[in-house]
Symmetry: C2
Subunit: 577 residues, 2 copies
């Protein structure tokens, strides 16, 4: 039974940064070559970053991507790594567009490809067959599907190559893997983190491995890209379903593993399969490798790490040196500050307390405590003298006067951002965004929303987890107990609490889960035993807040249906169901 040494390069690409992403792959190849690998596989689109969205419709971007692949092949060869087969994910084109429809708009001219580089050139290319076009994915919009499986005959083994969604669907490439009797299945992925997704993904990989009796090498990219966080968690599973190797979540990693695969037979390649014979790598090595099997942390730690990664990469990839956020003393801003500190370190975080005449003493002191516990930069900007002239000139009262306070705070944070180059973080949670319980151009101000996809109850849960996590490591818990324990309040009028205007959060989050994530209608939710008046009140708030959400900052997706491109609904809409 031939043994193949496979390297999985779990890299963190930046969309569009072809040369930087190529360097990451080059570095991984240097290490894989030194470790005697037979081949190296990257994640999906590791050369361009993912998702590239409508960049796929720009011929010059596709041409640049193709050049970058060819340059990478030449560079690998020039560095003496040319004998190692490197399978790299990238967009390719431009190809003849699909038939035009009823608009002058562009249509798909690209393919989502995996190219095999060896000896300084591209020796084979696979194009993704199944194009996901649901959830956050718009691949049918921008890509043309491929129609042929690629099989690499290397070191006496047949290794099939597919891309991401191809693994999930029964027809097409997976069927051909079985027909072609491949011993190894290499899968390039860009699979975003989603809570509990590992409970779907690993079983799928395992099922495909046993079904097709192949060793499946599943390579995922890692890192934050706008609202998506790729969690890595690359894994190799053999035909009996055993995990041979597993990379950690959220970090770049080079996973190298020996696989003992069935010897390739001498049958011809079946129809729809392109088979390519590759010379063995000069670097081949059979000395034993240490076992490399990461374990997944628990649910809360995974979530926390996803939020930290999403923020860190947004900040760093967009070249911000620092972030600023308003500290109200409440739970949301405290959790956002703790995430920012874990992502960037305290020296890159600037907290601003902006008390009004309605701010309670404990709010100010909880903000102080947070700043002290985390060591972030901290300043206090009282708003009374800024609010009063506007309130008085315009004769504002009621909700208009309440919103004014939030808007003056937004003006302050943006002023500080303009002066010092900070990215402003907006601290709204998913529950608040769902029901529109925020002031647009006020507390919604900011370029990134760290807990945008975290419902209120989960905000509390994560806060408690983070403090416990600190305690178990002998560190200071970052989040003041007062911020966790006290009743939540916007503090825009005397003695206000959230429950003056909203149902209790236990009830609210449950209804929102049914309406938003489960896609139930009002009657469906009432049929589950909820009070009709409450259900209609909550769903009405959700429907009417769509215009605000459209103007909101992006933030990391951690659920099956996040606000944003995951949930596309009209603003102009008369609900009937």
């Amino acid at each position: 039974m031939p043994r193949l040494r496979v390297a999985l390069a779990q890299t963190n690409p930046v969309v569009g940064d072809l040369s930087g992403n190529a360097r990451r792959i080059l570095d991984a190849t240097v290490a894989a070559h030194a470790a005697g690998a037979d081949l190296l596989v990257t994640g999906e689109m590791a050369l361009s970053g993912y998702p590239i969205e409508d960049l796929a419709s720009r011929p010059s971007f596709l041409a640049a991507s193709r050049r970058a692949v060819e340059e990478l092949a030449r560079e690998l060869d020039a560095r003496g790594l040319g004998s190692l087969a490197v399978i790299v994910g990238h967009p390719d084109g431009p190809f003849e567009p699909r038939a035009l429809g009823s608009s002058n708009a562009p249509t798909a001219i690209a393919q989502n490809c995996a190219s095999v580089l060896q000896g300084g050139t591209v020796v084979a290319r696979y194009a993704k067959h199944h194009l996901p076009n649901y959830s956050v994915f718009d691949e049918y919009r921008v890509f043309i599907p491929g129609d042929e499986l690629l099989v690499l005959r290397i070191g006496g083994v047949d290794a099939a190559v597919i891309v991401c969604e191809d693994l999930w669907r029964d027809g097409g490439p997976v069927g051909r893997v079985l027909e072609s009797d491949a011993g190894v299945l290499l899968v390039l992925n860009a699979s975003p983190f989603e809570r509990d997704k590992d409970e779907v993904r690993l079983p799928l990989v395992t099922r495909r491995a046993t079904e097709t009796d192949t060793i499946v090498a599943y390579v995922n990219i890692v890192g934050g890209q706008d609202d998506l966080v790729f969690d890595g968690d690359s894994v190799v599973v053999d035909g009996s379903g055993r995990i041979l190797a597993r990379a950690p979540q959220f970090d770049e990693h080079l996973l190298i593993v020996d696989v003992d695969a069935d010897e390739a037979g001498d049958h011809p390649a079946p129809a729809g399969v392109h088979r390519v014979e590759l010379p063995a790598s000069e670097s081949r090595d059979r000395s034993p490798l240490p076992t490399d099997i990461a374990t997944l942390p628990d649910d809360r730690e995974q979530l926390w790490n996803a939020l930290v990664t999403g923020l860190r990469d947004y900040v760093d990839k967009n070249g911000f040196r620092s972030v600023t956020l308003g500290l109200s003393g409440g739970i949301d801003s405290a959790v956002c500050a703790a995430i920012a500190v874990d992502a960037l370190g305290p020296d890159r975080v600037y907290g601003v307390s902006m008390p009004s005449k309605y701010s309670s003493e404990h709010s100010r002191s909880d903000a102080d405590l947070l700043a002290a516990a985390t060591g972030i930069h901290y300043s206090v900007e009282p708003i009374a003298d800024l609010v009063h002239p506007v309130e008085s000139q315009l004769a504002l009262d009621g909700v208009a006067a309440e919103n004014l306070q939030a808007r003056i705070r937004g003006v302050i944070l943006m002023g500080l951002s303009n002066m010092h180059g900070h990215l402003v973080l907006t601290t709204g949670n998913k529950t608040e965004l769902a029901v529109g319980y925020s002031t647009i151009y006020g507390d919604s101000v900011g370029g990134f929303a760290p807990i945008k996809d975290v419902p209120k109850l989960l905000v509390w849960e994560l806060a408690r987890w983070r403090n416990d996590h600190a305690r178990t490591r002998g560190e200071t818990p970052p989040i003041p107990v007062g911020s966790i324990e006290k009743p939540p309040s916007a503090e825009l009028r005397p003695d206000q609490t959230d429950q003056d205007s909203l149902p209790p959060y236990e009830l609210l989050d449950a209804i929102l889960e049914h309406y938003i994530s489960q896609l139930l209608g009002k009657d469906d939710i009432v049929a589950l035993g909820y009070d009709r008046e409450t259900v209609e009140f909550v769903t009405g708030l959700v429907d009417r807040a769509e215009w605000k959400r459209r103007q909101g900052a992006i933030g990391p997706k951690i659920s099956a249906i996040a606000f944003g491109r995951d949930r596309r609904l009209p603003i102009t809409y008369r609900p009937t169901d």
Copy 2:
């Protein structure tokens, strides 16, 4: 040769308003019945509104739509109109979902249907075959394609039924129309307005009519829905390419026309064609009809009407009584005010002049003149006393101090909106949004952006056209000459003009057209003869402003690639091409 009297109901639906939309169809049917029609056809999704986006993934919405179709059939019968065949567009489902992919997200469970109502029931149903998934359309995301053509045998004629995109593609339904030897082709459409689209749409309808030797009855919906404006322009073209009838743009209209079609043969229906025999309408009438052929106005008038319709319907469908906007004395706010007056009448428009210490005398007087010429409500709120306390407390200067002025204006408009219920209009044009030449949470504040898709040069052109149009009708030109003639300026510092920071608008708009609409890369544009430094400066501004555009208000699409769902690009992005 049998004669068929066909009614095309060009209605203005509201998304989700099943009962209101049904009433519009019912009213049209009453009129069509009285006029002796043999059948009535609505636009695509006229019962639900279009696009319904992810509402198509909510089973309860689909169930409500199906009930609404059945209720409409019963109601028509109860009113004595049951003998008239009514073909109505609506979503249908839920159906068995397509195979699930790599996420827990929902996938398509709906079809985009045309149902035939007669005798109180649904007697036949067609499902759209070709699903557009480019430009603003996400139909492959939410719909399952149909696979059978519907042919109605009525009054001795075979009338085929298809939906929108089906007409544009060569394969599938159009091929079967030819095979089935139909005499009439009924097409239900929801085709948004786009500049010069009539130069594509009418030739297509004509080509299909002559190719298939059928009389094509093309019914489009009308009206604004969020960022789309459906222009109607329903048309009937015979097999020789002659226009038999044409409805006006942008208005609801019932177009009734007699068509002399080939008699249906006695051949069996070909494979993939479902043929249904319908009894003739009791209302049949053969007395002659007046000719009803609307003429299209010129390009500028079409554009203006699209902008007016987009704003009017956003305001009215969302239940706003009034709008407010800042009047700077500049061209953008003047054009927005003129559009608002044409859409809503002056009594629903509230202009606010918010002069600063940098505002010129002519700015204030041009704002005064506009208010006087249009008769809108008008107030003046100087900002100096509101800006100063913030500037001083935070020690803001430079760009931070400039932006502060714009943000205080945003605070004022939102305060007035909160007090009086006005919708705030934001007056930025497409050029400004492209290069990020605006203050986020400042002049970008608002729920709707009337000229969001209008480049600066076109703003001037439309302003001149609107004034000329007034003059030719003996009315007062709404837009002050000063607003059109003076050099554009943000007036955030002394003697500032836009050209301090930006290339001349002739050059800027040309480069933007290449970069945004033509999807050219930087090198491509330089190759056309533009200065490299200017091209890189402009495209760099465009790339870096993506985060601002994502938080911007929606506004009516009038070009092939508008900002919004037409152009989906990452925020985090290192440009290379």
